[in-house]
Symmetry: C2
Subunit: 343 residues, 2 copies
DNA sequence: GGTGATTTCGAAATCGTTTTCGATTATGAA
DNA sequence: TTCATAATCGAAAACGATTTCGAAATCACC
């Protein structure tokens, strides 16, 4: 094995018989080093293929230049889109991103938070699990003065910056669209009772009904626990038994909507003529399923990018002013009309 | 703003009027510190909520305890499954994972490699872009003695550890299955010409034909460039024009197969009776599409987990023996039979 | 040539932890 | 008591880069 040592400032300094200080200054463009010396340093650095030891720089500057993001799961169209946005923007700003998963589990989420804290990341982006709300480990992030941005799955009880969509309005748009194409009896396969966006989408559903003077019927609302394909299928089955005259379904997310579509297809129930279906989130899947699924486009990538920018603002504010920004950014959603609601 | 300093070894030492050395030793369980002192140290550490500054530890031990993974894209069922496997196993072993994307672009991939090298990660896992083969930046990783594991999209020309599936055998199984259910004229919508697994799957296709004495017809092979849904749709259209009597399609990946299914559905072509279709990879989507898609299950999660374990072996071998392991692990695939090939 | 200003450089401290090695004290045996 | 041994602790160096501060050398100007 070769003794090819990794080059350091010292190696360069020794080769030129000058001090480490001067080498450092030359490389960083300080004004108190002569052009001649600077050039010699640059040449040797180039020759040795020198790159600063970023672990040492991190140590010295007390910044890890790394942020952490905790999400429920990676293998998920929306969350992976968020990750994509975060790491693209982070890379542009010279930050690395550590990804951790909570698996929708509160204990796991707590563990991940503590891991990130102990590893001294510069900031944290989180999308909460369905179980969590104002947990003490979230407050710990605040107490420790660690920059924090919540994204999409937020808690109203935690005082920090947030990147969200207007779930209530988006849900309103979806249900309003169903009503506009003639649906009279619309069911809602909703999410769990705890998460904020599940609540807001339910409220949007209700508001749209109100707006068109359609009486709200709680027996038309089915709450998912795991928010999965199977629940979409099973609840639709149950729904069609309970209310054979239902003519519209608004599902909390595309995955559930696809489950609904599958049941309706299996039963030869005409979509959208007998039952129209609209989902939420605009997963890739929804544009290749048959019939193609109408949905609400939720800009995951953009949300991720925004979240990083906001986190950076938080990090700078904390460093300079010692206090948080606590800004909430609300991004627009779009109603995507496809076959499942095109009568 | 409070002056709540982050506790260090020094804070503890000062509080107890002992040396930093002893505190460090007490916390690390050295034998040359008395039980009494140790307990006092542990108590104070507990009280101050001390956690070691891992940036300092990294600096001291010259290990970042962080690995990097470069993949073509995050928003992708298979690759996100790999990531999931890597980070789960890495977390168990106390490592962090940095994720970077090449976007199937060679220049980007090069940039990402250099970024990871300059940031001094302890090891790198890579799934190559379609453009890359034995690029010089890959050799640079080898030259710099950085542990490397290639996963799934590998290059035979780079000498390092690898985690793969037997693409040729898996493709053979898929096509063999088509033949067994009675297909006589089977088309292959293949991947680009460069990537190894695209080549191997093509070879598996050819071998299966040979094995059943079906003559190979190169006009039945359509090469994708971007390996996307649209190509699956368009090539199937072209295929059905060129060869109306084709009765089986083997697609390089589920995404392409779903494009094929959609075209066939649009044209009211019966699946699988007129044309049977099989994909590759077992994306979630393929089990909810109609008809449900037969495919080859590619164990992304397991591959990711294995890749990390192998990388760890590489890291230890490099540290201790100064040389690479260069082991190749081949994981099993499963033939998943669903509606699209159930005559 | 003398004075002050400017240019150019380097010594040294610092960040927090780990580890080596030596010093000191206590203990035990003779 | 004496000497050897064991038990316990701490000083100091090291990791690599950055930055402050002061020293030295050069220059400009009268």
């Amino acid at each position: 094995m070769k003794e090819s040592k990794v080059p350091t400032l010292k190696s360069i300094a020794e080769k030129l018989n000058i001090s480490v200080t001067t080498v450092s200054k030359a490389l960083k463009g300080y004004s108190d080093v002569s052009p001649v010396t600077r050039q010699k340093v640059l040449d040797i650095a180039e020759e040795l293929n020198y790159t600063p030891n970023s672990i040492a720089v991190n140590f010295r500057t007390k910044q890890s230049k790394t942020i952490g993001i905790i999400i429920p799961e990676v293998v998920h169209h929306f969350f992976s889109s968020i990750i994509n946005g975060v790491i693209e923007e982070a890379e542009r700003q010279n930050y690395f991103v550590i990804i951790l998963q909570s698996n929708e589990n509160k204990e796991m989420e707590k563990k991940q938070v503590e891991l990130l804290i102990s590893k001294r990341v510069d900031g944290i982006i989180m999308s909460l699990s369905n179980q969590s709300n104002d947990e003490d480990y979230l407050k710990k992030i605040i107490d420790r003065n660690i920059p924090l941005v919540l994204i999409d799955k937020i808690s109203k009880l935690i005082d920090c910056s947030k990147v969200i969509i207007d779930d209530k309005k988006a849900a309103f748009d979806a249900v309003n669209h169903l009503i506009n194409i003639g649906c009279k009896k619309i069911a809602h396969i909703r999410g769990p009772l705890n998460p904020q966006n599940s609540i807001d989408r339910f409220l949007g559903y209700k508001t749209a009904l109100d707006h068109h003077n359609i009486p709200f019927d709680s027996s038309l609302v089915y709450p998912c626990k795991r928010v999965c394909y199977e629940e979409g299928y099973d609840f639709t089955k149950q729904l069609m038994n309970d209310h054979p005259d239902v003519d519209g379904i608004f599902a909390i997310t595309d995955l559930v909507a696809v489950g609904a579509l599958t049941y309706l297809n299996d039963q030869q129930i005409k979509i959208p003529n007998q039952v129209a279906v609209i989902g939420f989130s605009n997963w890739f899947m929804s544009s290749v399923i048959s019939p193609k699924l109408s949905t609400i486009d939720q800009p995951g990538f953009k949300m991720g990018a925004q979240a990083f920018l906001l986190l950076k603002e938080e990090m700078e504010s904390m460093r300079n002013a010692g206090k948080r920004v606590c800004k909430t950014i609300t991004l627009n959603t779009d109603l995507i009309i496809r076959e499942s609601t095109s009568k």
